[in-house]
Amino acid sequence: MTKKKYYFFILSLISANCFNAYSQEVKKDEPKHYIKPTFYINRLVTGKRTFKTNKNENYSFAQSNFGFYFPIYTNTKPNVGDKIGSVFQIIGTGNVSRAIPKFNFISSKHTLVRTNFGLSAMLNTGTKNVFFANVLPFIAEDRSSLQYKPSVRLTYMFIYNRTVSERFSYRIGYAKTYLLSGSPRQPILGIRVGKFDRFHFNFQYPRYVSFDWPLDEHITISLFNKVMGGIYGMRNVEFRGDTYNSVLFKRQEKLTGLEWDYKSDNLLSFFFSAGFVGNNSIILNEVSSKKINRYFLDVMRSNFIAAKLEPSLFINLGVQLSFGKAKKIYNNLSMYDAIDLNTNFGNGDNNDAMKSAPIPYIPSQLKLKAIQLKDVEDLFELEDIN
């Protein structure tokens, strides 16, 4: 990141916090939003993957990701009789990912940075419908060269979610995403079977398939298969002299593994996942400087390298900090889906964030462990004892 962008990023974080502080001051402690301002950082590392066609060539990939999201505007309309008022939310989001691909057949090192700032909007109408939209423009650059000209691209998505019951919801939508190596324009199709706070199955094309098992209010274990990928502009020094000053690097992989999430109700959460990375492919193709911002499939025919890779191992870990208070959402089923959409679809085009959304766990056994008088004294008043 250049100094200017760094300052811009820091300023955005500060303004995000100031805005939130201001909006909390307006109504004296009463939470205004359903989503807490959240910062996250995570890191993905993969092992060396050899080419299927040429065992002498290999590639590995590491990525660090730092981002945040915060509520900008929430409008909760009051209920009229037995009709539940709608809830409209606008959420700001920002993300910087720093990727380092290592190719044993390319001598130069590349640090590929993608910076995005975007907006999500969610509308809950009645008790069953959630409309979700997300627009994320991003700047992709190769930090290893000052001569390299950054390129600007855009990802977006629209999703309609129907909460049929507490055990079932489905989603349909449309997205422009660079997670897949095919066309960036993809349909979104998803179903969830099972309650959010119990063992449930999630199929969310094209992002992930998972079995999620919340063990208690803190720990969730997930068995997942998810797609990760990206498109990056890379400075060219290896291929055909200086005819092409940029190379388009495209990667796609499918991660199958086990994730362990620790979710605190306040402030701190973290996750760790590990497993196999398979269905790997990388493509390096030529792009003239004039074409860099054009639809990348136009130049797919002129690949320098298009290779399928052997599977390998990966580790992905991250930490998340959430601040302030949010409105309570106990048993508010359509809001559960809205929060899940924001967590799993709203934060950049990386698909490497913590999987479990901040949805409250309602215990089935009415027995509290290690409870002491000081934990509950706030709940009692003098009248309760009379």
């Binding site: 209920n79 539940i84 209010e217 605190s264 109700d265 106990y330 409250p360 009415l366 409870i371 709940l379």
Partner: protein, 146 residues
Amino acid sequence: MWYKYKIWWVIILTGFYSVAALSQNNDKKEKIESFKVAFITQKLNLTTKEAQLFWPVYNEYLDKIEVLKNSRKKELRSASINIESYSDKDLELMLDNEFLSKEKEVELGKEYFNKFKSVIPVKKVILLYKAEDEFKRELLRQISGK
């Protein structure tokens, strides 16, 4: 190589430790609250439609009542610790605020009684109030270990 960054590791780990310690107290409150929600869910036996309409209204009520109770308790707690440092006038004002806050709580109760009965039958609203009382007794019972 790693020693270059060790100061950052110390800062990060200390930060996480403090944050984790800070979040523990809040976690207990949230845990008791989710226990209360489970208790009420079991006692009210709401239909799917009733539950979908009732819980957003009840959450709103919980948010508002929490703000009222917190501000009241904060004032009284600080006065009971440093009672000598408060003037009679300050203490009088504090008690006036206490009564005002309780009046507000009653008003809020009335307002939300009307809201509750528009989404669930009155009988279930009565069961809700009963369940809230039983929940407190249940907590005391569990603390005493009986």
